[in-house]
Symmetry: C2
Subunit: 137 residues, 2 copies
């Protein structure tokens, strides 16, 4: 997912263009890691002094709904990151800095046999720890 494509998708689905939306997407595109609503708010405040939490959350949820961002819950707080383009995969998530590394192993195919009568709606496979950078810091 890149910013221009996301913006186009917004327009196509009847949502309005705003500078704030573009900047939010650019923020996640640059960060390329899991960030909280507060992280985003603080970054946005640099250019939009009075931006409100309502705007932050409304757009975060919109982006998740449109599959532009993905979300996970870490230590009681939602964290968002731009959705990866490539094929299905999972993430190692650094608990210090939020950086991620793609994991290409996914056990779902073998799991489905174990869950014949269950309606699978979603799954989460995440590995937590410290990335090389945060280990030395």
């Amino acid at each position: 997912m890149n910013v221009d494509r996301a913006l186009q998708q917004l327009k196509e689905q009847g949502h309005k263009y705003t500078d704030k939306r573009e900047d939010m997407l650019r923020y996640f595109d640059q960060e390329n890691s899991y960030r909280t609503a507060r992280d985003l708010l603080e970054n946005m405040r640099e250019n939009y002094t009075n931006i409100s939490f309502d705007t932050i959350y409304r757009n975060l949820h919109l982006f998740v709904e449109l599959n532009i961002l993905e979300v996970t819950e870490l230590e009681g707080e939602k964290h968002f990151r731009i959705k990866c383009d490539s094929h299905h995969h999972h993430h190692f998530i650094c608990l210090d800095c939020g950086q991620t590394k793609e994991i290409h192993t996914c056990p779902m195919s073998s799991v489905k046999q174990e869950l014949q009568d269950f309606a699978i709606e979603d799954h989460k496979f995440e590995i937590y720890g410290k990335c090389p950078t945060c280990q030395t810091a």
Copy 2:
């Protein structure tokens, strides 16, 4: 993990016995599914009219620390269940009733090769959906 063993473990580690602690453990032992602090509170109120959230949370955290309960975050709320005895495994979790089913597939061994320089501290593999009972209900 069973109730008596948990109570003994509490005692061994210098924690005091209280009826409430025993009843909390019995609740999770019976339920055998992911329950919230509020679920527990409401159940406990039947016998202890004035039990407080402080007591609920303090003990939930203690139990997690002592490895008697395990915790996961579902839809912004922490859910607790009694820790399984058997060997390492993961869970299918029913999003309606919180019932779980053990999944015996775990991809961590193959994943470790992908994460040579990363310090792995924890991992989560959960499958969400509807259990057979909740599908028909």
